[in-house]
Symmetry: C2
Subunit: 82 residues, 2 copies
Amino acid sequence: MRKVMVHITLKEGVLDPQGKAVQHSLHAHNHKNVGEVRVGKYMELMIEDGADIDKQIEEMCEKFLANPVIEDYTYTIEEVIA
Amino acid sequence: MRKVMVHITLKEGVLDPQGKAVQHSLHAHNHKNVGEVRVGKYMELMIEDGADIDKQIEEMCEKFLANPVIEDYTYTIEEVIA
């Protein structure tokens, strides 16, 4: 069994209204030293070992988990000892 | 300037309907070897150096970014060379 940790973030230059909202809220609560905030998704997937797990993960990310037009994804894989 | 990377995940045992939905969708597209999926948030914050940056980050996480009742948070800090 493998644990796959996927980070999905907006591409450079893509406007991040959610990040802006978080930043404004932090400023309103006196955290004035906070600059840009970018909000993304973090997923953990448990996957049974398979033939080509990298290929499968990339397919899942590109087709289902991330929007390739506006998002980038990275992932790392950890062995899970049952 | 520091770059703070925050991971916000649901606490162990908290039901994750979003994760369930992702899992079912992956199964429906023949990724049958995918087990549990947990969906969380990933944020990157740029913060000007300050006196006690850890204390500030913990306060922001506990009061604004994460819901301490159902979510856990972790963070790492990177020096950003301007």
